[in-house]
């Protein structure tokens, strides 16, 4: 099970939009195989770069409204929020080296 915080519609504003740090939101679901594969990789990134980038999860089954609001049509979808805005969007499971590279500007 992932160590990442589960975010809901109720906590989204405080946890994501008003967070002082950039936040990577992992939109995922139980039934999504690739989501399960990327989850431990995100845990590793959180462990190594947690100071710079916070990583949280949104379960799209439970939070359909949030998924719709942010235009999710494919998961895993990783969206980075900075000052309340989506500044980066990554779709699909990718190896750690690729993710770290894609997220470089937020991990430095």
């Amino acid at each position: 099970m992932s160590a990442a915080k589960n975010v809901t519609t109720a906590s989204f504003e405080a946890d994501v939009l008003k967070n002082e740090k950039p936040v990577l939101v992992d939109f995922w679901a139980e039934w999504c195989g690739p989501c399960r594969q990327v989850s431990p990789i995100l845990d590793q990134i959180a462990e190594e770069y947690g100071e710079k980038l916070e990583i949280v999860k949104v379960n799209v089954d439970e939070e359909q409204q949030l998924a719709m609001q942010y235009g999710i049509v494919s998961i895993p979808a990783l969206q980075v929020f900075k000052s309340g805005q989506v500044v980066k969007s990554i779709v699909g499971a990718k190896p750690k080296s690729v993710l770290v590279n894609d997220l470089a500007e937020f991990l430095a």
Binding site: W31, G33, P34, C35, Q37, I41, S74, A93
Partner: protein, 306 residues
Amino acid sequence: MRDVIIIGSGPAGFTAAIYTARAGLKPLLIASSVEVGGELMKTTEVENFPGFPEGIMGPGLMANFQEQAEKFGTEIVYDDVVSVDLAGDVKVVKTGLGDVFEAKTVIVATGAAYRELGVPREKELSGYGVSWCATCDGFFFRDLKVAVVGGGDSAMEEANFLTRFASKVYLIHRRDSFKASKIMAERALANPKIEVIWNSEVAELHGEPKLTGVTLRNTVDGTTSQLDVEGLFVAIGNDPRTELVKGQIEISDEGFIKVEGRSSKTTLPGVFACGDVIDPTYRQAITAAASGCVAALDAEHYLTNH
């Protein structure tokens, strides 16, 4: 040095692991970083795998394969193989995170990768309406119109699955009949939410930033037409994944790894191949598993004689 390295984690790779592990060879299976379990991870109910009369979910079946392989001592690495050197007596396998593994034998079970449409903007719209995984993404198309491209079993499965969510599923096929199995084709044709568009292929994708529609080209008379859909699921087949071993072992004209007769022996001693990467014909979970068993026994035999 190890006895066996297995590259791949589908039914072929895990079956090779179960057999070599039971033979006491302590196999190392390199499962990939984000595709562990292979193609079956993208399926829902598997109804034709013997031993499961009630059917079993694809990911559940692969979890069972893995549990069985680990039970007998298979070591699993969750990383991608980036290069191999197979020519010598010591085979060398390097992974994305920089690890280097050596073994006396290598079993290649890298499977096949989905085929792309080859139309402009396909990459850009991937994950934004264009998808290769109905079970992953179908959920987001509730009450919307979608299309599936293809005429084989996986296209039928995807189309049927998508009717759970979508208001309408167009099934676009470039010929005038399906090559899918009868049971799968009949199920799709009988589904009131599915409309088949025969003799057509996707020529263009439209929408920004998300897909809103496609241009279809009739394969008989070349005329074009517009189709408004918010999702396009591509199921037009797979190509064997041979990039890793190309240039080191022989590849057939059709692009599959060449093996000797009914065995798994490639053109290099100590290198064996199994599953979809050698199979232009059957490509079922059960035939891949059987072929993984063949590779394990061939590797075991080779190790005994060397």
